[in-house]
Symmetry: C2
């Protein structure tokens, strides 16, 4: 049995296509008798309208695209979850695409999605602060296309659109302050997101916290690591070089790895070295000791993005008047940090 179309049904009953269409929509224009027969036939033969044709007619797909750099990152999964929840509530489905931190893949994905497949886009761009200029053009061409766009977390300043961002400066500040308050003197930073703006902001917060205590900032304490770098090897440098008693790590998996290495080298966590990581995901809770983490409230961010976007799509909210929403983080204190001394 091949896929049924309106035409097939029309032929079967020797009526016109429009009659069938109306009958299936329960239009009063069609007699009850005919309507019934057509509806029965359609049901029996599993007729379902071709969505592509509908999308074309309606000039809308009732779906939104979500583009994220990484699917093994719990934060993005939470965002995805939040987006999907709201989208479903409001009658939209989502198409999620992962760019694997590749600028090329992001461009391809945007090309694909922005040519009619979705009514709007939610993006966390992989663009670092360097390579923007050319890449911005790509993203910009989407906005130019008049397709509603909401960026979150890793946003591009030069793009004018609604944004939902994390208060990464404050997050870095809070985490560092907490380490200082629990007695840390020399705090290192491990950053797998060195070239991103959010990485810079977190380090900015870190500096601010140091400054408040008149601790001089030491460049050597900031260690960028790449995806293929040998973390063990790299860590050995700063651990031997400096007398580190606190570490701030800018993503979850690296936090876990860092702690494993530190423990293996005989340090006690948190007594010798305290650790705070970013992204409160599945891992942090179950490692030993359980990790103190910064939660970015991904689900909430996802929900917010979805609402913003769908409002735009449906023409609510003033056109051109873009807003940026800043979401605060929370520090989830567990066992990888010392207790705050009383008094």
């Amino acid at each position: 049995m091949i896929k049924l179309t309106l035409k097939d049904i029309a032929n079967h009953f020797s009526v016109s296509i429009s009659t069938v269409s109306k009958a299936l929509h329960d239009s009063h224009e069609i007699s009850d008798k005919l309507k019934h027969r057509i509806q029965e036939f359609a049901k029996e033969n599993h007729y379902r309208p071709n969505k592509v044709a509908l999308n074309l007619v309606n000039r809308s797909t009732k779906s939104i695209g979500v583009v994220i750099p990484d699917i093994l990152n719990y934060f993005f999964i939470q965002v995805l979850y939040g987006v999907e929840k709201v989208a479903n509530e409001r009658g939209y489905s989502i198409i999620s695409c992962v760019t694997d931190h590749s600028l090329k893949k992001e461009t391809m994905t945007l090309e694909m999605l922005s040519s009619g497949s979705v009514d709007g886009l939610i993006i966390s761009s992989v663009a670092s602060e360097r390579q923007t200029s050319k890449h911005i053009e790509n993203v910009k061409s989407i906005v130019d296309y008049q397709i509603p766009l909401v960026m979150f977390d890793r946003v591009i300043d030069a793009i004018e659109c609604d944004k939902v961002i994390v208060d990464d400066f404050e997050a870095g500040y809070k985490a560092t302050k907490y380490l200082l308050e629990t007695g840390c003197k020399t705090i290192a930073i491990i950053t797998p997101i060195n070239k991103t703006k959010i990485g810079r902001l977190r380090i900015g917060g870190y500096k601010r916290a140091l400054k408040e205590r008149d601790i001089p900032f030491d460049d050597k304490l900031i260690t960028p690591i790449g995806a293929k770098d040998d973390l063990d090897f790299i860590l050995s440098f700063i651990l031997n070089d400096k007398n580190i008693d606190g570490i701030l790590v800018l993503d979850e998996i690296t936090t876990v790895k860092t702690m494993a290495i530190i423990k293996a080298r005989g340090y006690h966590v948190p007594n010798d070295i305290a650790i705070i990581g970013f992204t409160n995901g599945q891992l942090s809770k179950y490692v030993t000791p359980a990790l103190t983490m910064v939660s970015q409230h991904g689900t909430y961010i996802g929900e917010t993005c979805a609402h913003r976007l769908i409002d735009r799509i449906e023409g609510l909210g003033s056109p051109g008047n873009f807003e940026t929403k800043v979401v605060k983080t929370s520090l989830i204190v567990r066992e990888s940090t010392r207790k705050i001394p009383l008094g």
Copy 2:
């Protein structure tokens, strides 16, 4: 600047739509002069053909839908990764949908996807062995629609299509055998997937391994747990009741939780109780002790599914002649199990 169509360009140059279409396709039918002007104009104004219209004309979307029950399950993420890799290589993009283990959501998702949005489907169904009858109808209506379908992992026997499954029987057998060989006498099973066929197969393998050693099967050692159950509470029963020295857990997150609880109760892993879990994901490696896990080779499964499906879509492979591929698992031995005694 509103979205440009062929018609707009045609109007701008006072030519026909077909001329523009041909010009943009570099057809020899159009004079070089005109072609150049049209192409220039299209580029400058960021013209891109409307994909929905193209899909309608081509009766193909060059995209495939992937439906999985859970996105926090590393196995499924790996499958997704494998599918996407092959799909991209072969010129397809993927639409991934998560059903959150909800039959209703699965039905909705299938409804949505099977009406023209995708050229084919890759599904791991949430259907347990009970509720099938009605649900099967839903899935069946997709196959009836002549839309190519590949099921993996959680397949439905009554559906005729290509399948890629894990050798769960052998996996349960291998894991149990390993525990026995390393000295375990009383092995419990914790199963969060009690009603699924794959759960039953794994337990089947477990029974076989016991039988080989003439160990009687004890029903009480199989503990099903639901999503909302208090694992701590439930574990206390069997730990107190039986003299357990080995546990087989049927998913990763539950394995990690189980070990945490066991450690908290003062047992040593693996000396007092050895643990093997299913799905070798991100968590297993970094907990203490690192967990011995069954790897299901998700990426490979995803790749296989994608190849099968696209072959079907493109009419390669004999119609109606469905195949089921069985993929073997590997046991990744780490520290939550004892060593096999020499000799």
